[in-house]
Symmetry: C2
Subunit: 210 residues, 2 copies
DNA sequence: CCGAGATCTAAGCGCTTGCTCAGCTTCGTT
DNA sequence: AACGAAGCTGAGCAAGCGCTTAGATCTCGG
């Protein structure tokens, strides 16, 4: 039952790598604003205001509004990929590793749904070069999940006719958690993660041997 | 194998109820622009331009840009709900009706992915009253799927611990097809629909009796 | 053939946007 | 004590936004 990523506490705990402090405050403010209203509906004045600064201060730390989005997207995608790779490299059966991957991946999307919403749904707002960079990360994300599923098929654990198609469906299901998850909802991120791990094992045709 | 909604042909075939012709052209142009760039990144000049008209012409047929989005969203949600209700009211086992619902619902989201993208992902851009109206339609959508699943559980066809949670997951999976579906992709809308119907039957723990 | 209503355009209004810049303050180093 | 770099602000620019208005054109019943 050991899964990665246990981060209680404030919304900006996860952005420790962003320095200096003013730049981090601006980035956290941007995440909140982008998640609430969307990238294009967010003004630089709004971001600066949330960070308690004047509109001009933003441009000391970031060249453009798009660079802010890119930094958020990059860090988020790195983290998501890291979570999946950690699960992939663990010891054990493919079914255990797949369940682990889904559990921690979904938990991240629920716990950090504000960030995840920006990371997963504002891709089109990136400029061409930045988007290409992120798309490459997403390819690796997909490849990681596909590898686990293919290993499960090879080991006879899973019953999957189309591993690629199933991978797309599984990731789509997990990612979309960021869209509907509500903090006021019935379930905690942990519970949703466990529930989704079970759903995904069903999708790949895994039968628990009792 | 009989499922609803078979609409080949041009992108504006589905908007027959919108009259007069200029209003329909504007609406189709808006769907394309919103799907490509997102609501907030789309200008009224762009919409009018795609429809081959001057910027001012838009305001003869629609009071605001938001009203355009509302009309699109309303028609799309009506259609989606109609598809699910048709499947619910059909004769047969719950598993057949659920598979049918998913198959036609997913096919619509793949075939009309441009429209569906706007319908499903631009909800937040609606004004408060319009959003409330659409949210109500989505509640009914969810209730329809939940009813089928609950009937399957009651009939002993499905093995589902949490029908509400499963309903959310199933709809989330199906809706997200609109985001990733690509016309150039390997699979046709029909194939994706069939594939997803199978996945969903697995998710609800249905065992085919051979 | 007329005239009223519907449809459309050219021009542009008022406002907001992303972003810039001159100058003020703060602060670590000498 | 003096200084230069870095952080930040107030003011504001050029461009683009949603939307309006005055008037030209089209349509069609009488």
């Amino acid at each position: 039952m050991s899964t990665a990523e246990q981060t209680p506490g404030g919304e900006d705990v996860a952005w420790g790598e962003v320095a200096p402090e003013a730049a981090r405050r601006l980035l956290v403010a941007a995440v909140e604003a982008f998640a609430e209203r969307g990238y294009h509906a967010t003004t630089t004045r709004d971001i600066a205001g949330r960070a308690g600064m004047s509109p001009a201060a933003l441009y000391i730390h970031y060249k453009t509004k798009e660079e802010l989005l890119h930094r958020i997207s990059r860090i988020g995608h790195d983290r998501a990929l890291e979570i999946l790779r950690a699960a992939e490299l663990r010891e054990g059966a493919a079914s255990d590793r797949l369940a682990d991957a889904v559990r921690s991946f979904v938990r991240w999307h629920a716990e950090r749904h504000t960030t995840a919403r920006v990371v997963q749904y504002e891709l089109d707002a990136l400029g061409p070069e930045h988007r290409a960079e992120i798309v490459e990360l997403r390819r690796e994300t997909e490849a990681t999940v596909r590898r686990i599923i293919e290993e499960g098929v090879a080991a006879g654990e899973f019953d999957v006719a189309d591993p690629s198609g199933t991978t797309v469906a599984v990731l789509s299901l997990c990612i979309d958690v960021a869209r509907w998850f509500n903090v006021q909802g019935r379930r905690t991120p942990d519970e949703v993660g466990a529930f989704y791990a079970d759903l995904v094992l069903r999708m790949v045709g895994y039968r628990a041997q009792k």
